[in-house]
């Protein structure tokens, strides 16, 4: 059964304290791995799609990497406005384009 597991469930950082969020997955064939940011009361905001092991993508203080079994979202020198829930989702190599989501990591960055 396809599965996506995110860790930690919650993370508290001081402003400027870099860290990483983990997303491990098991699928029969990966079409893409998606990262989203979700603020309270809002829909998920698209960040990145990664397609193959070794791929990296960056956006401001965020950098996403992908291996054959997991993805990391690295946050460098975070600011309080980076506080949000970060969701990881995988899409299998079939025709459905269904996203299978993890439970998310709640990030709080303190000033």
């Amino acid at each position: 059964e396809d599965q996506v597991t995110q860790s930690p469930e919650a993370l508290r950082l001081q402003e400027g304290e870099s860290s990483s969020l983990n997303c491990s997955y098991t699928v029969s064939g990966l079409r893409g791995l998606f990262w989203y940011r979700q603020d309270p009361g809002k829909g998920p905001e698209f960040l990145f799609t990664l397609y193959s092991a070794g791929e990296e993508k960056e956006k401001e203080r965020l950098k996403a990497t992908l291996t054959k079994k997991e993805s990391f979202l690295h946050i460098t020198a975070p600011k309080p406005e980076d506080s949000a829930t970060y969701l990881c989702a995988v899409q299998e190599k079939d025709s459905s384009y269904k996203l299978i989501f993890g439970s998310g990591t709640r990030l709080l960055v303190r000033p």
Binding site: G43, P44, F46, Y51, Y97, L99
Partner: protein, 113 residues
């Protein structure tokens, strides 16, 4: 990116009634999706709605409970029928735009009393 709007943004409904949620996209898209996010949980796909064909439902979701319309390439509706408190969730419309980008609307927060 695609800009997605949903109506209503939130509603409080009595059990046994139905609510229709609208999703409008600012560009033509082939594939639209409806997701549910139950309190404190992550997102689960309800169904895929393609224009000109019947919606495809995921395991655990049925057409009688969640009928979907897709009259054109920019609009879709999801109805939550015969509601119970267990249907209290955020319902999200999503579209696939480009080779592998998928965007979400702001969501409809439904509370069933």
């Amino acid at each position: 990116s695609a800009v997605i709007s949903q109506k209503p943004s939130r509603d409080i409904c009595q059990r046994g009634t139905s609510l229709t949620i609208q999703c409008q996209v600012d560009s033509q898209v082939t594939m639209m999706f409806w997701y549910r996010q139950q309190p404190g949980q992550s997102l689960t796909l309800i169904a895929t709605a393609n224009q000109g064909s019947e919606a495809t439902y995921e395991s655990g979701f049925v057409i009688d409970k969640f009928p979907i319309s897709r009259p054109n390439l920019t609009f879709s509706t999801l109805t939550v029928s015969n509601m119970s408190p267990e249907d209290s969730s955020i319902y999200l419309c999503s579209v696939r735009n480009g080779p592998n980008e998928q965007y979400f609307g702001p969501g409809t927060r439904l509370t069933v009393t």
